[in-house]
């Protein structure tokens, strides 16, 4: 089984390949309804998460809403 190494929120992560953005959220136990995903500075819209393959070296950002003024 091959693995990919990607950056998630600035930290290196290993993931079983092949993997999509949706697989990553599932792997991290995150609810896709409360998280917004950016891959290499491009937003991945929610319906496309399962159709977005991740590649070695991708930079993924996972953000959500927190308290703020």
């Amino acid at each position: 089984m091959t693995e990919l190494e990607i950056m998630v929120n600035g930290e290196p992560r290993r993931l079983a390949a092949p993997a999509t953005a949706s697989d990553l959220l599932h792997h991290l136990g995150l609810d896709p309804r409360t998280v917004v995903v950016e891959v290499n500075r491009k937003i991945v819209r929610r319906p496309q998460l399962g159709d977005t393959p991740l590649s070695h070296g991708d930079a993924v950002e996972l953000v959500h809403f927190v308290g703020g003024g």
Partner: protein
């Protein structure tokens, strides 16, 4: 005693009958084509705990509640999203771009916020200085233009400068949000003249954002004629955030009503309230 308990013991605090007989205060606030009843908007940062926050927001009567976009903390076992505490069906969530120091960064955050899927509104902040958190007005105007072109309803946090406010309106902002004093300072309304001038010269709503420390600050700010106030620290850092939220709700109603009522002129000399006529010889 909580504000609610206090209100039960002193009926006029809860009944709001004076305000309810004055329909003018209840004219809706129209922001970006949406109608809101409350002229108080509140933030969700810096509360001691989520329970305080939820109860304070409820007591404030606010409909618009600001939130921020940040990385998910992957080391935490629980999901710390604010959506676990505030329902998007109950409140209008207004995402901010706080912490952004360039137009590009603010635009990126605004796009991420919109993707969360609640609305096309953004409270745009482009900060220019870490000590004062005063806005980078050049970056602010650049970001506002771009976001308006992308269909955002932009509410722009700015300083008390008229020219910047006019430029933001010209850029297509749905509202301009000048500060009362620096973010989190609680110094109150430092430049009433500047805020009045901005209100007088702009056609879009003017919402004062930042610096209000206590109820009298909020009341005085509303008396300048502005359309509303956004605050966070004044509630979050109050000893009793729920009581302060009630105080702010009343202060904003009072200030709005006083503005609409029109104050008496200021005089340098006294004028008797009691007639001179009919005095004994």
């Amino acid at each position: 005693m909580t504000a609610h308990a206090l209100a039960l013991r002193i009926p006029y605090l809860s009944a709001m009958t004076i305000v309810q007989t004055e329909p003018a205060t209840h004219s809706a606030l129209i922001l970006g084509g949406r109608s809101f009843r409350s002229r108080l908007m509140v933030g969700t940062g810096k509360y001691r705990n989520n329970d305080d926050m939820v109860r304070a927001i409820e007591a404030s009567g606010a409909e618009i509640v600001t939130v921020a976009v940040r990385r998910v903390d992957l080391d935490r076992s629980s999901d710390a999203s604010i959506l676990h505490h505030l329902s998007p069906s109950q409140y209008f969530l207004l995402a901010n771009t706080a912490g952004c120091y360039s137009a590009d960064e603010a635009i990126r955050y605004a796009r991420l916020a919109r993707e969360a899927g609640f609305n096309e509104f953004v409270k745009l902040e482009v900060i220019g200085d870490r000590e004062t958190l005063l806005p980078d007005t050049e970056g602010l105007i650049t970001a506002a233009r771009q976001l308006v072109a992308e269909g955002f309803k932009v509410l722009a946090y700015t300083n008390d400068d008229l020219i910047t406010a006019l430029r933001l309106e010209d850029a297509g902002c749905a509202a301009v949000m000048p500060l009362a004093s620096p973010i989190g300072s609680g110094l109150g309304l430092l430049n009433p003249y500047g805020i009045r001038t901005i209100k007088r010269r702009l056609s879009v709503p003017v919402i004062v954002d930042a610096g209000v420390g206590t109820a009298s600050d909020a009341c005085l700010t509303m008396e300048q004629g502005v359309d509303g106030i956004l605050m966070n620290t004044a509630l979050a850092e109050a000893r009793d955030p729920v009581a302060m939220a009630s105080a702010m709700r009343l202060a904003i109603e009072a200030g709005r009503l006083a503005f609409l009522a029109g104050r008496m002129p200021r005089r340098e000399v006294a004028m008797p309230s009691t007639p001179d006529a009919g005095m004994l010889e």
